[in-house]
């Protein structure tokens, strides 16, 4: 099982490998470089359940550049591109 205590380094979900599991620490849209504005990106991520404390697991990744990724967020599976997933900081 995953160790989710504070000692784990924080990292963007966008860099996580397949099989990674962790807990969302915070959102940081500024670092993502998405086409969306920071506020819009953050709103959308929250609307899809990416909020602090949610458990995430990277289930699948695409072929080209291992992108997009399919992420289990608590009870649902969401496909996102790594670029947007950079805004989700996990540990």
């Amino acid at each position: 099982m995953t160790d989710t205590n504070d000692t784990r380094p924080h990292m963007p979900l966008g860099l996580a490998q397949r099989g990674y599991t962790g807990v969302i620490q915070h959102l940081s849209a500024r670092e993502a470089g998405s086409a969306l504005s920071d506020i819009e990106l953050e709103s959308r991520l929250i609307e899809l359940g990416f909020v602090e404390g949610a458990r995430v697991e990277v289930l699948h990744e695409g072929l080209v550049g291992r992108d997009p990724i399919a992420v289990r967020v608590d009870s649902i599976t969401i496909a996102v591109r790594r670029r947007e997933a950079m805004a989700v900081i996990v540990a």
Partner: protein, 623 residues
């Protein structure tokens, strides 16, 4: 006193079963499928509650919030907030939730509460929740949320009984004046707080077993494998096109011999003359030659419906996202494009789920390049007349292979066009994000597949009976009049209006290898692609007399060169031969200009492709 009509609205996150519920309540047959973003329009239906109250219910596109990020979500927002012009605000909002996945819906519900509309939470898909061992403390949930909560199973008979009962109870005591709406778009921190609140309520009222859907995980391990997944996707598409060719044949043969028998009967019972010619050449050879393709159309719809109901479509979008991104397309464009294999019209409508305007426009422009089912008759007719039905490498049917090639050519050209659009017109924009929920797989439901196929088959037959039939009457008339002078030795059609028109156009089309008969068929073929087949059937039947009345394929094989046939196939990959598609493009883009652009670019491509194909084929000796 007669009570006024009660207005309900179905709101909820995508894929939570709103349309299924709508169908269950009203007995309608709106499209239901297992991926987010099926419904993109507002649909109203009516029913009567057990206590006799007249109710109007409106099905809306699914949405995660009221912010209205894409055209479909705007429809929902405007309706709920009463912004849609000439619409009454709903008396009661039914917030429909997928019980296996409450987090996002409860947050949406907390947001919806601010609109001040009376509301009910409908815990739909309760059967799946029960099967997975999810238990919901309904009473407690109702208390926490401060509104009534009912469970429902939209796809089971009687599964909406609780909801109907509740509707009666509520409608009896609905306040005449609802609260004023205090809704405004939530700030990020409000959103976050709402989601926290939702999570707290769920933690209090719902117990989740730590047992996700293992079937979905197992299937996804194969289907979403970076390489394996693409192999599976290619295989599915390949089998689909092979099947359309191979499996439909027996049923088509049966239909064909049925029409042949009918033609002979008409010939045997009616005296020679105009009536006989009209029935035999206009109706049976014309409309009949299109109806013969019903089995193939059913088969392609069957495949697409199965994939949609199973839950594969969202996966395909996932697999194709980056690959299509290379051509400047958005991953969300995949589902609209795949539905365009059935028909471009629903495909173009489905682009409403794409929030980025440029991505949406690009998808609309290339959707007609996907090989829609109306091209099947044209392709099949020519392929079976000109391509030998032999096997290559022992197991692949050559005709099926050519068919697959035509589909592939459509896809490839769509990608190229999209790439060019990105390159020349809409340069330098950052790719819009791709975020899509991947729903759990569901066993396709026999009833919904059957209804889907029935609706499509009916549409096809109605079209054959109306558009195609009236075009056929016109063509038969043009091909039969004026009648030849007495003592003429050439075939009667040589004297007809059709021949005059066709021959006037022939010089234009001669470079691509089309004769005047094809020219005649192409014009009414603008109304609908299949009309061309019917028109060829009629023209050649009248020209060839009684012997040629049937077997249009064999007639073509003797009258056309292989180069002409190939050129015709190339033409149909591109040609904008469908008035309804153009009308939908005009409506969805809100602009005549984009419609004109689509028409022109497709026509130019068609002509160029045919020109190239014909000349290469002639050079290779197929002239």
């Amino acid at each position: 006193m007669e009570l006024p009509l009660l207005h309900l609205a179905l709101v909820g996150t995508p894929n939570s079963g709103k349309t299924s519920l709508f169908n269950a309540l009203t007995g309608s047959r709106q499209k239901v499928a297992n991926y987010p973003g099926v419904t993109v329009e507002r649909k109203e239906g009516f029913f009567v509650t057990p206590l006799g109250r007249q109710v109007s219910v409106v099905d809306l596109p699914g949405t995660y919030s009221l912010r209205g990020r894409s055209p479909d979500e705007e429809i929902t927002r405007d309706f709920v907030l009463g912004k849609a012009s000439g619409e009454t605000v709903p008396d009661l909002v039914l917030c429909v939730a997928d019980s296996t996945n409450l987090r996002l819906t409860i947050r949406l519900l907390l947001e919806l509460k601010r609109t001040g509309r009376p509301m009910v939470l409908v815990l739909n898909m309760f059967d799946i929740a029960a099967r997975r061992g999810i238990t919901v403390d309904v009473e407690r949930l109702a208390k926490e949320l401060g509104l009534p909560v009912v469970t429902s199973i939209a796809v089971r008979r009687g599964g909406t009984a609780n909801l109907l009962k509740l509707t009666d109870e509520i409608s009896a005591k609905l306040a005449a004046e609802a609260e004023a709406s205090s809704w405004r778009a939530l700030s990020v921190s409000e959103l976050r707080a709402t989601q926290r609140e939702a999570d707290r309520i769920i933690a209090d009222c719902v117990s989740l077993p730590a047992r996700p859907d293992t079937w979905t995980a197992r299937i996804d391990a194969v289907v979403l494998h970076p390489v394996g997944g693409l192999v599976v996707l290619t295989l599915i598409l390949f089998v689909m096109f092979q099947a359309v060719f191979a499996w439909a044949q027996p049923a088509m043969d049966l239909l064909k011999s049925g029409f042949d028998a009918l033609g002979e009967l008409v010939q045997a019972t009616l005296p020679d003359g105009l009536l006989q010619s009209f029935l035999q050449n206009g109706v049976i050879s014309g409309v009949g030659s299109v109806i013969v393709f019903l089995p193939q159309i059913i088969l392609i719809f069957l495949f697409i419906l199965l994939l949609e109901d199973f839950g594969y479509m969202a996966r395909a979008a996932f697999l194709m996202d980056r690959i299509m991104g290379g051509a400047g397309l958005h991953g969300r464009a995949f589902i609209p494009l795949l539905s365009s294999f059935a028909c471009a019209i629903p495909g173009i409508m489905a682009t409403r789920v794409i929030d980025n305007k440029r991505d949406r426009l690009t998808t609309i422009l290339i959707a007609p390049l996907m090989t829609c089912s109306a091209r099947i008759p044209v392709y099949t007719l020519i392929i079976s007349a000109f391509i030998p039905a032999k096997d290559v490498w022992g197991f692949i049917n050559l005709q099926g292979l050519v068919m697959f090639g035509l589909y592939a050519a459509g896809i490839a050209s769509a990608l190229v066009v999209s790439f060019l659009i990105k390159f020349f017109m809409l340069r330098d924009f950052a790719p819009a994000p791709f975020m899509l929920e991947l729903p759990d797989y569901k066993m396709p439901r026999l009833k919904s597949i059957a209804i889907g196929i029935y609706t499509r088959a009916k549409m096809f037959l109605v079209r054959a009976g109306t558009t195609i039939f009236s075009m056929m009457v016109l063509i038969w008339f043009l091909a039969s009049f004026p009648q030849p002078p007495a003592g003429a030795t050439e075939p009667a059609i040589e004297f007809s209006l059709a021949a005059m028109i066709g021959k006037a156009l022939e010089p234009l089309l001669a470079p691509v290898g089309f004769n005047w008969q094809i020219a005649v068929a192409l014009i009414p073929g603008m109304a609908a692609r299949e009309v061309a087949v019917a028109a060829l059937g009629t023209v050649y039947a009248i020209e060839g007399g009684k012997e040629a009345a049937e077997q249009i394929g064999q007639v073509l094989a003797t009258k056309w060169s292989l180069a002409t046939a190939l050129s015709m196939l190339a033409w149909y990959i591109f040609a904008p031969q469908c008035a309804s598609t153009l009308a939908v493009i005009r409506r969805e883009t809100g602009s005549w200009a984009w419609m004109a652009v689509t028409f022109t670019y497709m026509l130019v491509l068609a002509y160029a492709a045919s020109l190239l194909t014909y000349n290469v084929a002639v050079a290779l000796g197929a002239g």
